[in-house]
Subunit: 291 residues, 4 copies
């Protein structure tokens, strides 16, 4: 959120530090309270969907929901108040998630009585998306995210290849197996293929003919083997990330290049002696010959 | 496709660049349109197999299929036209796949009326194999394919060993379990063994005796542990591929140290200029000051 | 257990060496007997819960249980006797586990006749927790535990992210799927989500609508791909642990090169004697020839 | 099999080279024929267990089995004939497997008529163990076997820990779940625990109470995360094996130590200059100062 600049006034600066930064003790406390509130409100939404609990504690859930909504609304107002360009925040990813965490409850209020059950149900479940607010805290795992970013492209190509394998095998099994076994059409067969290749194996659709079972075994063994691909790519990237942490942080005094190996004595780009505290042995050698 | 040489004529050269290469904007656009068309036509084949959709949109699917087939035929004709040795392409892997993506539809037309349902169904499903045309685009993931090529042999030996383990355990469980549990013959028991060892676990056949359940647990734990083998082999190969990409193969002419970064110009140990064909800029700089 | 100091008396010191250390043959024998006894007593508890065996061998199990309890009690008494600060041990993790392995049996004796079945059953099963006593022997795998400790934080963040993904997807599938398919409330949907994403795939709850099946496929492919994350992080840490074990931390006094093998005595780059506290044997050899 | 020494006679030496070695073309041909025969005979045993095929091709299977048995017997005789100490081979692992691949068929002949069905069935299935003969060919994957040998100890400790986790969780779920859900005794609960933790997920026993489902989710997530452990350990060992292949094979001319890094110029144990074709720069440096 480096692009957001705090407003100048004292209170607003203070608020900005507490809400958006996490250096001071107050700011850390704010983060902890926020995380707990998000978790609690998500728990309420989840329990509220269980008929038994809803019957027993319905009113309590309703009241808790309003308390959370009011607090989240207040927090969003504070966030917008202490920023110089509040609209920019509102249209950012985190701003949209903030809105999403309070809108459904407010909308339910605005809707006329006797609203269709579907809309009510939808609004109720939508509240659970406030769990996404936790994402900014998960984002701390820089190592994971760096490795994910770098292996993203390879893993996507891999998933693409997986889908091709699944479509081919599923179509053949669809041809072989009778519809009574559950392979009624190709999309369902592809569903079975993904269930099998990813080794989930629900067992709601299973092959019954010997040839179908043989092909299933091939799909299983392929799935069991190629899981090595995303794992291998990602492992390699994590190892690379870890290693780069271990590169020396000092830049070349000559040309400014960094990421030198720890045992490097000369800059690999401009040949400058890296250790500023001692003298380059080439210099002394030359002086020797000069004299 | 380096072995394919374009025909000389201007239009043919132009066509060759658009269809077979991907440097120009037009060629890239052609690739994108082709990918989208393949995906769309595969989607039509898949939806066409769902009875509900077929009843409602059957005619639309039929027409779309013909549009795709005509376009793919046109494209194949263009491909063959712009090559000097079209037959060589037709007998290559990609040529066969190109043919496979249009033949079923044309064959269905040629077949006499009242054809057996099986053949019709077969031809219909065969059209889905045009998804294989996407393979040339997946092939870009050179890193994955290099690593696969090098770990291929080890992973095959691994699958061979897996099958031995499965056959031995399955035979013993077949002896122990009553046929009512589903273990009616050894091939079925092997099917159960693969389902279990690969951790798919459909649950269509499960052991019911205590001893059978105990042996199942052993198979599960073996499967859970040895998945480490293909993963480990492949990870090691990806890491090797990544490392080799990063280091140049040339050694320092001064001290012989190798494994320099690709952008290295000076040896990181003795500071010698690495590129033997040009002169060290430091030398010329010194000469300047000397004069 | 370095914080525990043995009592001074001869017998107590002897006991301490046998029970808490594992250098002498007697101490190793004690460890083996203890492991076997723990395994045997856990087996008895497990078999005792099978109705058939309980009917046939109930009395035998009862007697064996008392033999084990008395031996474990004696052992705990010996442990406390030979320590200077027995209370400190009793309140440590291993002390609590020791208590847990004998308390249920003694408590069952103290309880008045006609105790509720639930309490009796609870006490019976609690005895199985003595399997935790084996933990001190598993703890030997220092490599694994070191790597676990260092990757712990990243794997927790990963599980956190997994739960967020599961909650979001499960809620959407809960909205789409009819309650008859088993998606009766959000907690149950989350249960389904975890079953699917971890590729367990019981199949007790499965989607029945095409859209629900499509979303399931997405969840499966996500689960199949992101298993790479904990694996990659942990692999990287194990590799780091192995490497650190293999290299000494001391640098060459001659040229500063580090990462020498543990058995290295001369720098592999400049041939300098690495151990600064003793003299290079080559020097003394030359002096011999000089004189 | 380096401990086996061939007999001296010409024919016997020739036979030894063909059967036990694999350098000549004849020996390689022998290996291929042997592998195909083993696979074919295993296939016959498997198909023979399918009632349908047995009815149709029973006599053919019977005859094929005798052909295979006679050939395998002949081969074993040849093996024993060309060795100096045949008994030593017969009592080795491969000798026992060779015997196992022919004994069941011969035993079935010796048994009196009207033998109990169980014994007949046992002998029939035992023949499938001849698949173990393939193991000597799988053994070629030296890389895998080296890595397995070195990670064996860690993976065993891991499985030990897994079993502890399973027993603890299973006992608690056994306490919580009603027997109607299938958790009738602790061994069955442990079976469920292994099915769940290894992500097999048959679904033959599944929790039905909310608390039981919650604990299941914990077990699934643990299983999903700790699969990283064997994978990480094994990956690290494969990477180490690959790296060691890359160590220089030349030994130190001074003390004979090998496994030097490729960039090593001095022996890390005795400080001797490793490159025998050039002169040690230390020597020339000293000569300079001497003069």
């Amino acid at each position: 959120m480096s692009s957001l600049r705090p407003a100048k006034a004292g209170l607003r600066t203070k608020l900005f530090q507490v809400i958006f930064e996490s250096d001071s003790r107050l700011a850390k406390g704010f983060d902890v309270v926020l995380i707990l509130m998000i978790l609690a409100s998500v728990a309420v939404v989840m329990l509220d969907s269980v008929e038994g609990y809803r019957g027993a504690f319905g009113t309590l859930f309703y009241e808790a929901e309003w308390v959370f909504t009011l607090l989240f609304t207040l927090e969003l107002a504070a966030r917008l108040y202490c920023l110089e360009r509040p609209l920019k925040y509102l249209t950012s990813f985190y701003g949209v998630v903030d809105l999403l965490s309070i809108l459904p409850t407010w909308l339910a209020l605005l809707l006329p009585w006797g609203q269709s059950l579907l809309v009510v149900r939808l609004l109720r479940v939508l509240r659970i998306f406030r769990v996404l607010r936790l994402m900014q805290f998960v984002g701390e795992g820089r190592l994971l995210i760096d490795a994910l970013k770098r292996s993203w492209h390879q893993i996507l190509l891999f998933l693409f290849a997986v889908l091709m394998i699944v479509i081919i095998f599923s179509s053949v099994v669809y041809l072989i197996e009778p519809p009574e076994a559950g392979f009624t059409n190709i999309p369902t067969a592809v569903y079975w293929g993904v269930v099998t290749l990813t080794t989930v194996g629900y067992g709601d659709i299973t092959p019954v003919t010997p040839l179908g079972q043989f092909l299933s075994m091939v799909v299983m063994l392929v799935g069991y083997s190629i899981i090595a691909v995303p794992t291998g790519v990602f492992s390699a990237e994590v190892i690379r990330s870890l290693r780069e942490q271990r590169y020396s942080n000092e830049a070349c005094p000559g040309c400014g290049l960094d990421h030198h190996d720890h045992d490097a004595r000369y800059c690999r780009r401009c040949g400058t002696w890296l250790d500023e505290e001692t003298e380059d042995p080439r210099l002394s050698a030359r002086e020797d010959t000069d004299t």
